[in-house]
Structures are given as C-alpha cells and as structure tokens.
C-alpha cells in the first residue's frame, strides 16, 4: 500500500488525527522555546553540519581510529556489512555466554536490522526497556516515531494494553499508575537479564568511547547490571573528538523533545572489571548512500525526530503510514536508498514545504532531496498510466503556445459547461472535498489584448 492509501485510512478517524497532530505540535513548540534559549542556535547548527560533513568525507580514517582506541580500552570491536551479519554477531556473543534473556534500550539500528524477531527465533527473550518501545513491543507493533515510539497510542489505549499484558487494573489512562506498573515489571526484567544491548548516539574517534542518550536511564540500568554489554552503531555515528560532543548534545535533546539535555548522557569508555563490552559497527547500506552525492548528507542525521514533529504531513498521517523503520521526512530520503520499489511513494508524501530542512539540527536539505528522489523514481519505477500520460502531455502543451491556448480555453470551457457529475466524479480527487474554481468570462491573455493594445 502506498503512503497516501495508508494515510487515507488513518484519516478516517479525524478526532485521532487531531489528537496526534496536537501532541506532536506540542513537542515542536517545546523545541522552539528551547532553541530560542540558545544564543547562536543557527551557528550551532552550522557547526554540527560541518562536523558531520567532515566525518563523512573521512569516514574510513575516523572508523579505523575509533577501532584502534576502543581496542586499547579493552572494548571488543566487530564489523557487520549488513543486517544479517549484525544479527549473527549479536547472537554469537549472546550464545557464547549461554544467555537467555536480553534487555535492550532503544536502538533504531536494531529495529532496522530486525534483531528482536531474529533473537526470538533462537529462543532468546528480548525486552525493550524504553517505555514507549515496550508499549509497542507488547502491542506487537513497530515504533511510529524514532524518539516517541508509541506516540500513536493514547493513554487509554496503553491502559487496555497493560491490563491485557501486565494484568494491571483499569485506571482510565492514569499515566502515573501506568508508568509505575511498567517500572515494576521492567525492574524484574533488568534483574533477570544476562546481556544488555544498547544503541550508540555518538562514538568518539579520538577516545574510542561512546555516548548513549536516554531519558529513562534504561541503557545504564541494563548495561550496569549485566556481565555483557553489546552496543550497536551505524558507521555514521562517529564524531572526531570529544570536544565536538558539546555541539551535538546541545542540539540533540532540544531538537528532539525541547529539553536542554537528555536526562542521561552516559559515557562508556571501557568494560567494567570482570565484564565485557562489545561494539558492533554496521554498514547495512550506508556506504551506498554515501556514494550518492545528492543524498549523502542524509547520513548527517542524529535521529532527533524534529523533522517528524514539524512535518504537517507526518503529524496527520501517523508514522506507520510510511511503512519504514524511520518514518517522516528523513525516513523518506533514507528509505528509497535501501529499497526503491518498496518506498517509492515516500518522496511524494510531502508538499516540499521545507520546514523539515529548517528544523534539522544538522542542516540536512531534506526537502531538496525529496525533490531529487522524485526525479529518479519516475524513471526507475513503473508509474500509474494516467499520471504519467497527463504529465507527459502537459510537458508538450506547456512548451507550445498554440497548444497552451487551446488547452487553456478547452479547460475553461469544460469547467464552465460540463455537467457536475462529470467534474465531481471519482476520477477527480480534487473535487471530493473541494469546489473547483469558478470560471470567469475571460482569461488574462484576452483581457490584455483588448485593454493594452499598444504594448507588446
């Protein structure tokens, strides 16, 4: 199903759409307030963008530097070219320790690699410990947002879900009660776990350490209680030096949720005594995206989700309508690079309003890349016959003044005199909810000829 079909289904419940829109707009406003509080916000964005540009131009060197320093620190480093290799590396480590229970903190990379179903198929229990992720996990869904994974669910829906899966009492969606129940439940999971898996927000080439940002402290809880911590990172997560962290940490939380900084920005530099720390560095299509000059800056992304919160289409279509690990504007330029056929409708799920590019803390020109993907998609993917034909004909008409005159007059004649049932038919998506413009007696050409005879 295309994005528009899925979005149309989501839009059948207008009250829910309004609620979803308002919830995300609230976060966008919080972000605006937080950004206003930082003097030189635009300078900070510019700096972050340049650091990322430098990273992508020297990615090989920084990765090698990171690996050498991480090894020196006693971290075990693994390389995975794709999702399959990533999953088998993780499983191999889990198996070596005879582990049965894994606690995971939110990681979009492991979502991208479909790690949970893979480990579950090997009889390993995986529990997502971020509250939002946990909610979608028990609902057997995928995250609909990269920072607010369960934003598509109301409190009341979570209440029902918890009653069914955790045996909680009906609370009419009381967030405090529900959070406490989840906390109790997750605490046991943390205590029983053998292995913790976390993502990586920033890996520092200079030190060989990495930083994980959470608001719930779940990454720390997991990593500190177990003997084995596996951190999974995409190759683009590298930053050159520790001093660059200040730039990104200031931008990340403000852009994501409007907080000055995430509650926990945890630095991991080496394994604790007697414990193991692994890091899996994953490509999974990233070098290919890096090779596409027009789209390489999509790899600047620090996964703050600000483009989703600001996107008027995302807010009204819901994350699941994108049918991709990363939804919204940034997902719409990343996903076609992975599977053009599956994701060919995503670059069209935008009015190219440009709000995403303006809000992006690392200045990715998202809406310009959407435009560029469109040009590629119509060439490489089969297009609906009607759309293709109409636009091809339009091209011919618009390059020829005689045809243009004829087409303009015919269209105006049709709009004026054709029977309503023809104009307002199923074939005309414009007319389902909108009136067509009222046709005047003249067009500007004729008026000009009559009134401004002497000027060419």
């Amino acid at each position: 199903m295309s994005h528009s079909e899925k979005a149309a289904i989501f839009n059948k419940n207008e009250a829910k759409v309004n609620w979803h829109d308002k919830a995300l707009w609230y976060v966008r406003e919080k972000r605006d307030n937080a950004a206003h509080g930082v003097k030189g916000w635009e300078y900070l964005r510019d700096t972050a963008s340049k650091i990322k540009g430098n990273v992508l131009s020297n990615l090989d060197n920084y990765l090698i530097e990171f690996e050498a320093n991480a090894l020196k620190n006693g971290i075990k480093v693994h390389w995975a070219s794709d999702a399959k290799e990533h999953n088998s590396i993780v499983y191999k480590i889990v198996k070596e320790h005879n582990a049965k229970k894994v606690v995971k903190s939110k990681s979009m990379l492991t979502e991208e690699c479909h790690l949970n179903p893979y480990l579950e198929s090997k009889n390993i229990e995986v529990v997502d410990t971020d509250l939002g992720e946990y909610i979608v996990q028990i609902a057997k869904e995928t995250p609909s947002h990269i920072v607010l994974p369960a934003i598509h669910k109301t409190k009341e829906e979570v209440d029902e879900l918890f009653q069914e899966h955790l045996g909680t009492k009906p609370s009419n969606g009381n967030p405090e009660y529900l959070t406490n129940e989840a906390r109790k439940h997750l605490r046991n999971k943390f205590l029983q776990a053998d292995v913790a898996i976390t993502g990586v927000n920033f890996a520092i080439a200079e030190t060989g350490g990495f930083v994980v940002c959470t608001n719930e402290g779940n990454a720390d809880m997991g990593a500190h209680l177990v003997p084995v911590h596996i951190a999974c990172m995409g190759i683009e997560k590298i930053i050159p030096k520790e001093e660059h962290l200040g730039v990104f940490l200031r931008l990340l939380a403000r852009s994501a949720t409007g907080q000055p900084i995430t509650t926990y920005s945890s630095h991991f530099n080496k394994p604790a005594e007697g414990k193991e720390l692994h890091i899996v560095i994953v490509d999974n299509g990233r070098t290919e995206q890096l090779s596409r000059e027009d789209f390489r800056s999509s790899l600047h992304c620090i996964r703050c989700g600000a483009c989703m919160n600001t996107c008027p289409i995302y807010r009204r279509s819901g994350g699941h309508s994108y049918d991709a690990t990363i939804p919204g504007p940034i997902g719409s330029i990343l996903s076609p690079g992975k599977d053009l056929t599956k994701h060919s409708s995503l670059p069209f799920a935008s009015t190219l309003c440009g709000s995403c590019s303006n809000v992006c803390p690392v200045k990715i020109n998202i809406h310009e890349q959407l435009y560029k993907w469109r040009q590629i998609i119509v060439k490489e993917e089969p297009q609906p016959f009607v759309k293709k034909s109409i636009l091809k004909i339009a091209g011919k008409v618009l390059e020829n003044r005689t045809l243009y005159n004829f087409a303009g007059k015919s269209a105006r004649f049709m709009l004026k005199y054709a029977p309503k049932f023809m104009i307002y038919s199923k074939l005309n998506a414009w007319g389902n909810a909108r009136d067509l413009p009222e046709v005047k007696n003249t067009n500007f050409d004729d008026w000009y000829k009559a009134k401004r005879k002497n000027k060419k």
């Binding site: 149309a8 440009g354 636009l391 243009y404 008026w447």
Partner: protein, 245 residues
C-alpha cells in the same frame, strides 16, 4: 528598467483578476512593464511530480520570453522559486543565468527592488496572511518559525501599510496549507485535512479575508471554504494592495 510580467498558467486561465491587479499595481508604481504574449508556464507542476525532464521545453520557452528584460516579476512565490531553484536542468547559458538571477516574486520586487512599502492602498478588513512555503522558506520572503533569526516579513511590511487593514495573528503562522501541486490530488486525504486545519486557524483568529502571495495555495483553501460554506473570503495580496476605498 524594463520589467517582464510573468503570469502563471493557472492565474492566466482561472484568476485573470489577480493578473490584472498585479499589472495595475506595477503600473501605479510607475514600472515600465511588458507582458510577453507567448509565455506559458514555469514547468513546476512537472518538476515537482518527478518529470522535470519533460519540462525542459517549457523552461526554455520561459527563458526565451523573458531574457530581454531587466527584471521578471510574477504574482506567485512558488513559480518564481521554481525558476530560481530548479532551472538548473537547462544548460546555464548567459540568458538562463540572467533570467534566474532577475526573477522576483511581486512583493519581493516592490519591497526589495523598488524600496517601497506604503503603496497608498486601503482595505478596511480583518486579514489573515497565508505565508506560502515556497515564498517563505524558498525565497526568504520572511523569517521562518523554525529558524532563530530576527523577525521580518516582506508581505507584512506591505500589509501593515494598508489603511484600515487589521492583520490578525495566527496560531501556526507558517504551517503549510496542504496544496503542494499534484500532492493535492495524489495525497488527497492529507491535503484536505491540512487545508481544513489551516482554515480553522484563520477562523479562530477572527479573519475575514485570507490573503497571500501564492494563489495556488489560496485556490486550494478557497475550494474547501466554498465546499464547506465557511464565512471567509480569499484574495491575492496584489488585489488588496491594488485596492482603494
């Protein structure tokens, strides 16, 4: 200074009053304005749909029509943005470069090139300004709510000088209306919902007339207003700036 008047295809055919107001306004401002009679369209509908290859003929014709003028002025931020931003599919001959560098949206031309903001217009109504995205974020006709830049707005500068006009404050002042060219047809459900929300924002703010520098957005909003019988009128900013009591 010889100015070529660019009238976008849909304005020519469906909204001649907008084109007339634009021409009259420029004439009032003593601009030496010409209307090249073989113009058609900037090619944007094709480019935005992924068919910019098929728009090359239209783009080339645009350049042929306007290459001899010092400035090209059109009452549509979106079309002008397309000329400036996406005409790189053409070979960058001196003519193409000249046309791209000298294309202006109407308000931008009046404020930045002519240096005028008080045009002597009067329009005693409560007006809501729809800041169309391509003009706003593409042509920088104003500051955007996402960016931490000082506030400015070319259109507000002009409207604030219109006698009797009360410019109303919106809740989401620069949110997209959902038109987006062919988006309005291929993503119909979202497009309609965005337009309805935009209209509600204007209604909640006590607006009588929605105006803007891009009539395509206004066409979409007007279609919804008329279908739902909402107590709102839609006028292009040229019509307001050209009006007197």
């Amino acid at each position: 200074m010889r100015v070529g008047l660019f009238i976008p295809c849909y304005i020519n055919q469906l909204y001649p009053e907008v084109a007339i107001a634009t021409l009259e306004l420029l004439e009032k401002l003593k601009v030496d304005v010409y209307y090249p009679s073989t113009q058609t369209c900037c090619g944007q509908p094709l480019g935005n749909s992924g068919y910019e290859e098929d728009s090359k003929g239209a783009c080339q014709l645009f350049v042929e029509n306007f290459k001899e003028y010092d400035c090209i002025v059109g009452p549509s931020g979106s079309c002008i943005y397309h000329v400036k931003k996406h005409f790189d599919i053409l070979e960058q001959t001196p003519d193409v470069v000249k046309v791209r560098n000298n294309a202006y949206e109407l308000c931008e031309f009046i404020v930045k090139v002519l240096g005028k903001t008080d045009l002597g217009a009067s329009f005693p109504h409560k007006v809501g300004l729809h800041k169309s995205c391509h003009g706003l974020r593409g042509l920088h006709l104003g500051s955007c709510s996402e960016r931490m830049d000082p506030h400015f707005s070319t259109e507000e500068d002009l409207l604030n000088n219109v006698k009797g006009l009360e410019l109303m404050k919106l809740n989401r002042e620069d949110e997209c209306c959902g038109f987006g060219g062919t988006f309005s047809v291929f993503e119909e459900a979202i497009s309609v919902k965005m337009g309805k929300d935009k209209i509600q924002d204007h209604l909640n703010s006590g607006v009588e007339v929605i105006t803007g520098a891009d009539h395509s957005c206004l066409m979409h909003l007007e279609g919804l207003i008329n279908r739902d019988n909402k107590p709102l009128k839609v006028m292009h900013i040229a019509e307001i700036l050209n009006s007197t009591i």
